[in-house]
Symmetry: C2
Subunit: 307 residues, 2 copies
Amino acid sequence: MSTSKVIGVDVGGTKILAGVIDPEGKVLERVLIPSPTDSTEALLDGLDQAVTKLLSPEIEAIGFGIPSSIDQRSGMVLGTVNLPLQGLCFRQRMRDRFELPVGIDNDANVAAIAEWKAGVARGANDLVMITLGTGVGGGLILGGKPYRGSVGAGAELGHMVIRQDGVPCYGNCPGHGHLEALASGHAATLAAREQFGPEVDARELVKRGEAGDEAALALLHKIGESLGAAFGSLVNIFNPELIVVGGGFAAAGELILAPARERMALESLPNMAELTRVVVAELGPDAGMIGAGFVAYETLENAAATL
Amino acid sequence: MSTSKVIGVDVGGTKILAGVIDPEGKVLERVLIPSPTDSTEALLDGLDQAVTKLLSPEIEAIGFGIPSSIDQRSGMVLGTVNLPLQGLCFRQRMRDRFELPVGIDNDANVAAIAEWKAGVARGANDLVMITLGTGVGGGLILGGKPYRGSVGAGAELGHMVIRQDGVPCYGNCPGHGHLEALASGHAATLAAREQFGPEVDARELVKRGEAGDEAALALLHKIGESLGAAFGSLVNIFNPELIVVGGGFAAAGELILAPARERMALESLPNMAELTRVVVAELGPDAGMIGAGFVAYETLENAAATL
């Protein structure tokens, strides 16, 4: 039995969740602190504190899941919306600080890896993960391996064009009609506010839908249809075994997934939709931390392979 | 030096192009016959004739590129538009007939493999191929390997949703606003007819555009924009080194590719569009035959690996 241990860190916009993770993805110890987002220094200081609390001579590597696109060649954060990390050579910074192997990845990629290794997608070879949070993230496991793109900045499934010339996308994305602008928690909040007034956000919209409010159900149905159009594209592109849906707004459950499945069947080529199951993620808020732990193990394996 | 030889067969809707292919993708001998499309038997008879003309004791395997989605588990043709092959266990039929290892793949996948092994994309690790013909086909090389999906029916990039609730897609596809319905040769012909009358097809539209006809240029520009929206999605999904554009309608060249590149930049996340080059395929009408030859070699390698 392996006694290997690593630290996995979910670097969130509001909180940092770090844990000691074993090779099976079990969380042996954890630390939760609010994310200091005032400056790069403050945030790095917070991360250092969280990691230091968990450090021991047994820890072999550290992994970080970051809500940003990443250049895996340099270990640099390319683009980020909520955190002051853009342009930082994050991987090198952490290697220097802790003198351990460090792996970094996008937050949705680590969630996909977590669900694939230790969650609902265990054993699958080809799967697509969609995280519905404030934004929409994506992760890909293809041919039994995480797929990250030529420099590691891929799998941004929230930025598929679903409605050419549609509503502007969010943050620093210059696009229009992207999935993120149609089916994210933020999109749901905007639509809910327009319909019900400024006090209603995505969470309250789901509550009203669950209570049977017709207008809320119609809004959620519409969001589900855009999600399903994206699912149809993903079926035709990837012919995956699974589409795994995670993130806070996945709490809307069948209120969005039922219309999404229906639309997915309509947009898929004949005989293809039935090859893909749409399932809800299993690991919840721990997915990022656990997946970051698996990225740490991947870093160890890659280091061993190149020795 | 290897003296290995295979036969590659491009099974087209109008013609069958078969050739003897060496390991570098060189065409040593070729046969071209019209596709008999009246019945499954007639078509298989035509394929048998084409292959038989090229057979010799030196031939080690046969590969077929078929304009259909394929279930690689059974070697069955799942869905096909122009050829009477649906539901046929094509791979087994050819193995039985020729007593040789047989590989089959989708026509756009083989084109992608050809361009990757012997064409414009040589040496690339992550690339996306789009073939603009009557329909729009797709092929994926990811992490230095062809990606085909869980059963082999993936990479149908012509069936990405670009305009949710848009125009109906073609053939037996139940979707709406798919790339194929917006940027294929057939879509161009329909748009040209509507604008100029029944005698103008995609080819004539391109001619008029090249001659500077403003209305033709505007139509081609619009088609290019939809193509570019798809390119933007592909950049965000795959972070590929290359997007390779092939197929007959790629003859429109910069008349569609210039607006496509512009739109691609608009739909890509910050700093990502410049990581992907859009290039025109190099192998022309031979791509399918050459790629089918590489699929034959892949079949030999896989057989050797499992011995």
